[in-house]
């Protein structure tokens, strides 16, 4: 049995934690929070690029480190702990994975090295409004060379230089790659519940685009990419949930009421113990997702869904009960609790809300059972 990260991977995680605690403190997150005109923390992003992390799971032939997705999982958890206000998840979990899964060798050779160097910042545009996008309800269209339609909301859509877009082509759906700095693209920054990770509406008007993968494979590829992204996002959520539990625990030890620390009361103790249980359930499911995504296992669909469902629940519970444990202080702008609450909700709906993944999971179990 070898169901844990290796010593090298744990070392990477520890180093990343030290680096992020020093380079990306909450003050760095608040610079983005407090200024509507700032989409991300460019200083932190520059340092992340310099660390070479963007190339973690990019092959060496394309300028990456040639490590694997297990290492990305480790970094994702650390990014989650500090609520990193940078387009990391969009670029690494979605855009890079999309290129690796669906891109031609020419597309990969063209774009992957520029991700590593920081010249390309990616995003993933699927959503067009309320509901989960499917081939049947997509309105954005691709005619073989240009893209037209509106994508909203797109995480990091105003920061990114390039997007992978899910679009209708003929009667099916295809994935396409678009240069967002080219013609036919208009972007508008949107107000969201989580201002520390920016969102845009992107309008395409005959924007030049190239297909990723085969025509009509869009929905299938989208599912594959989301399975990858779900596992990586789950680690980011796990990092946030772990940090929220630590914050609540620390506060419960130092905050006195009725002559003693509030953490001596069972109402608080049991709440925090429940947080711990949910976090460990999430961690174990995340590990399984990490195993499945890094080995290309046939179990990936159910493993990714379970990791995502468990991580959404853990971060939601930890972030809301962290505020509750902090009492009135927890409801102030100055105390960081609300930043975790905001991020927890963003990560729970980006890539499809838990209900979407629960349905995916049950369908997978049914199909397995029928086979």
């Amino acid at each position: 049995m070898n169901f844990d990260f290796s010593e090298d991977q744990k070392f990477l995680g520890n180093e990343a934690r030290k680096f992020l605690e020093s380079e990306c403190p909450m003050t760095a997150v608040r610079l983005v929070l407090n200024d509507d005109d700032v989409s991300h923390n460019a200083d932190v992003w520059k340092k992340v690029v310099e660390m070479g992390w963007l190339g973690t799971a990019i092959p060496e032939e394309h300028g990456g480190l040639g490590l694997g997705l297990l290492e990305v999982c480790v970094l994702a958890e650390e990014m989650g702990r500090v609520l990193a206000p940078v387009p990391w998840a969009s670029t690494v979990y979605f855009f890079t994975e999309a290129l690796k899964i669906a891109g031609s060798s020419e597309q990969q050779a063209d774009v992957l090295p520029r991700i590593v160097s920081g010249d390309v910042v990616g995003c993933y545009a699927a959503s067009e409004g309320p509901g989960n996008p499917t081939a049947a309800n997509l309105k954005t269209t691709f005619d073989g060379s240009t893209l037209s339609g509106t994508k909203v909301p797109v995480t990091d859509g105003d920061v990114a230089t390039h997007a992978v877009v899910l679009a209708k082509e003929g009667s099916g759906a295809s994935l396409v790659l678009v240069d967002l700095t080219g013609e036919g693209v208009t972007r508008k920054t949107l107000q969201t519940l989580d201002p520390t990770r920016s969102h845009a509406e992107i309008v395409f008007d005959k924007a030049p685009a190239t297909r990723l993968g085969n025509a009509g494979d869009g929905e299938m590829l989208n599912d594959q990419i989301l399975d990858h992204a779900a596992v990586l996002l789950a680690f980011e959520q796990l990092g946030g949930a772990s940090r929220a539990l630590e914050m609540a625990t620390d506060y419960a030890k130092e905050r006195y009421a009725f002559g003693r620390p509030i953490g001596g009361n069972q109402a608080i103790k049991h709440k925090l113990a429940e947080m711990y249980v949910k976090n460990e359930v999430a961690r174990s499911n995340c590990f399984y997702g990490a195993w499945a995504v890094s080995t290309g296992a046939a179990e990936l669909p159910e493993a990714a869904a379970a990791a995502r469902i468990a991580a959404c629940e853990a971060f939601w519970f930890a972030s809301k009960e962290n505020i509750q444990t902090h009492g009135g202080m927890g409801f102030t702008w100055e105390v960081d609790c609300h930043l975790f609450y905001r991020r927890a909700k963003l990560l729970a709906v980006q890539a499809g809300a838990p209900k979407v993944w629960k349905e995916k999971l049950v369908r997978t179990l049914e199909n397995k059972n029928a086979a």
Binding site: M1, G263, K269, S294, K358, E359, L361, L365
Partner: protein, 401 residues
């Protein structure tokens, strides 16, 4: 990451499997316990325990000098996994070998070890653990069973409760109060007690589930030699902690129908299209996986020769509630009809109905949900202990009820 054995682990697994295959049949539809009567089951259990002991499989991590194998915790895990695939008559020795005998080894005299360890290991004598009382459950240190010194003997009077296996046990470890004039943790003393002697009366408890698996044990003027004391007078709490530490290692295992069983049931009942049910099914899958995979993490630490982290403490909190929730939904799935317990009419031999009545007990046995959460909060998260108003109060001035 992988789920494979190391080379050494694979070798041990093959060896264990070969040994098991030589002596036992693979697991069938119904466990042995349900196919034969109680005395026949006990006869076979003792026989199997003897075979294991003679071949070094009875207690794998114990040193060879006392009849163990001198093996690793990982080997014990592998043995348990493999034995679980066979129709093995196990159970009656778990408490004795998992909790009582380790306490005897830690605190007993050389004579005790010579007299008791080997016989317990070979299944010749069975042990039970006598801690809980009617007014001392979660707060075990509040127990009232009295031991009064009389020459070189102690005289025991009182009542124990929820004693598994007391009706077939030969010996027990008994926690008593020897000094009521000091605070509760300080006046306790542990003994070895002969369960077959006069004055020990075992009565089965009629459980809420209808079964009678546990017992009350009454002690009336029972005499125990001072030489059968474990640890010093007044040190019983320290001794009991050692026993209970071992309990946490002994308890575990998934206790009943899970997501796959209720999914099969829902297909049969035609309720798989119910969206609310589908969402719950996903949650049950995630919880069951969470429990199973957390055990894999613990095994990984053992396999690497490391001390497992505290994550395993989440086990029973998850499984007990999980079972109750699944059974509740399975019953409601069939509306009024779900109330029937007739195993001929109900799917899966009415396992959901049976487990529905068993689940409340599971949430209490071996540490209630609330106590387990306290343990996580205090030992894992480092939060302060509860207020203990009785902590420094002499036991005989304490309120109880």
């Amino acid at each position: 990451m992988d789920f494979n054995d190391t080379k050494e682990e694979a070798e041990f697994r093959a060896e264990a499997r070969a040994f098991l295959g030589k002596h036992l049949d693979p697991k069938g539809d119904k466990p042995l316990r349900q196919r034969v009567d109680g005395s026949e089951f006990m006869r076979r259990a003792k026989e199997w325990q003897k075979t294991k002991a003679e071949n070094g499989y009875a207690q794998i991590t114990w040193p060879k000098e006392i009849g163990g194998r001198g093996g690793t915790p990982m080997q014990q895990v592998i043995w348990n996994q493999e034995e679980g695939k066979f129709d093995a008559p196990t159970g009656p020795f778990t408490i004795g070998l998992g909790m009582c005998i380790p306490t005897v080894i830690a605190f007993g005299s050389d004579e005790h070890k010579k007299r008791y360890v080997g016989k317990a290991l070979k299944g010749e004598e069975i042990w039970c653990q006598l801690f809980s009382e009617p007014s001392a459950g979660s707060d075990v240190a509040g127990l009232k069973t009295r031991a009064v010194k009389d020459g070189d003997e102690w005289v025991i009077n009182g009542q124990k409760v929820w004693t598994s296996g007391a009706h077939y046990s030969d010996y027990g470890i008994l926690l008593t109060r020897t000094d009521p004039s000091v605070p509760k943790h300080k006046g306790l003393t542990m003994f070895i007690v002969d369960m077959k002697q006069a004055g020990v009366e075992v009565r089965p408890i009629h459980q809420a589930s209808g079964g009678r698996e546990f017992n009350e044990v009454y002690f009336t003027d029972v005499r125990i030699k001072d030489s059968d004391r474990l640890g010093d007078v007044g040190q019983g709490w320290k001794v009991a902690i050692v026993t209970l530490m071992n309990e946490r290692l002994a308890v575990g295992g998934s206790p009943g129908p899970d997501w796959a069983e209720i999914m099969a049931y829902a297909k049969e009942a035609g309720t798989m299209s119910d969206q609310a049910f589908r969402e719950k099914l996903a949650d049950w899958y995630v919880a069951a996986q969470g429990y199973k995979l957390t055990k894999f993490r613990t095994q990984t630490a053992l396999s690497r020769g490391q001390t497992p982290g505290p994550e395993n403490s989440i086990g029973k909190i998850i499984t007990a509630n999980h079972l109750q929730d699944i059974c509740n939904s399975a019953i409601e799935m069939q509306d009024h009809y779900g109330i029937l317990t007739d195993s001929d009419r109900m799917p899966a031999d009415a396992i959901f109905q049976q487990s529905f009545m068993w689940a409340p007990g599971l949430r209490i046995a071996g540490g209630t949900d609330e106590i387990l959460k306290n343990i996580i909060a205090e030992r894992v998260l480092g939060l302060p202990q509860d207020v203990r108003v009785d902590k420094d109060l002499p036991f005989d001035q304490m309120k109880s009820g």
